[in-house]
Symmetry: C2
Subunit: 202 residues, 2 copies
């Protein structure tokens, strides 16, 4: 379809949406036309929601989780175990761990992973702030919960080096078959990890 | 992941995005977190673009194409052939036809198709305005360019009945194999149409 004869406003909106993750020109177009079709003020609702995100959401001063005030709900919660710290890449990883209801400690959100190809070095992550926290608190355990990917592993390694003077116990999330997964369909490196990390059954 | 411990602002944004076409909760979440990650003011850019859409884009008074003033660029273009009218369902269909550079007439955008199951009857489409145009202009040909679907066919049929007193020639877009398509993969009703509508080769 191209940008032929499209209104400049519409073309600009489509271009902007095209840059979002998971979007191509066609899906961007579909969404923009969807907005323009609505009788109800869906664009208005979206603007309000985006303005709220922009205005009210900021990083937690302590752990860089998303927050609506200086401290996020977790750092502000006195019932959390302040001696165990879980390091994650992104706020959504923190959310995923919270959804297990198993972990009651604190978090540190790095804001990504080391990736030299994308020009993400240690300075681009919240590592200085992590070091500061490690120095000024006493954590008995550090969970390195970065993703089980090349970059996540490299980042975990870097964090472990950095934390080594201050923390005795460092752990990494278990690897293996996903629940409900089938051996037949699981990739070989996951199966390798599941086999290497097999546990006593009785 | 659920809405567990999510900031209300973030949860609201995710809920709103989840309702968009092609979105589920996961993709909505991904997009919202993407916005929150950006250093550059991507949310701000998006708000501006949406405000422009909301403020500047409206339906053309004549044909219901998208416009930035009373008349769309096509209705305002004196070089168009005013004796041939192409009826489409949506503005994006008009764009698709424009991209062929073959059609130089005018359009009428219905704003959808007849769909009793979704409570879309004739009143919900721009049919009264179409009748008004047919009465007050003399079109030598009406192209019924609604989609080749059950609903599009029904809508074309309805439009044809409505236009019958005023227009001599009514046409419908050709059906057949899509260019670059392969017989092996084409559905049988398309192949049926291609066969039934076969043309002399020499």
């Amino acid at each position: 379809m191209g940008g032929l004869n499209l209104l400049p406003t519409v073309e600009r909106a489509i271009r902007l949406f095209s840059r979002f993750p998971g979007f191509g020109r066609k899906s961007a177009q579909r969404l923009v036309y969807h907005f323009l079709r609505q009788q109800k003020d869906e664009i208005g609702q979206l603007i309000t929601v985006l303005e709220d995100l922009k205005r009210q959401v900021r990083p937690c001063m302590i752990c860089f989780n998303l927050a609506e005030s200086d401290k996020c709900v977790i750092c502000a919660d006195p019932s959390r175990d302040t001696e165990i710290l879980c390091v994650v890449e992104e706020p959504q990883d923190l959310q995923a761990i919270e959804s297990t209801h198993l972990f009651k400690g604190l978090y540190h959100v790095l804001g990504g992973h080391l990736s030299p190809l994308d020009n993400v070095g240690p300075e681009e992550l919240h590592l200085a702030q992590l070091e500061h926290r490690l120095k000024n608190n006493s954590f008995r355990e550090l969970i390195l919960a970065t993703n089980p990917t090349i970059e996540g592993d490299a980042t975990a390694h870097y964090v472990a080096q950095l934390a080594q003077p201050w923390v005795k116990i460092m752990t990494r999330l278990g690897l293996g078959l996903p629940m409900g997964g089938e051996l037949e369909y699981v990739d070989e490196s996951t199966l390798y990890q599941a086999l290497a990390g097999r546990r006593h059954y009785i």
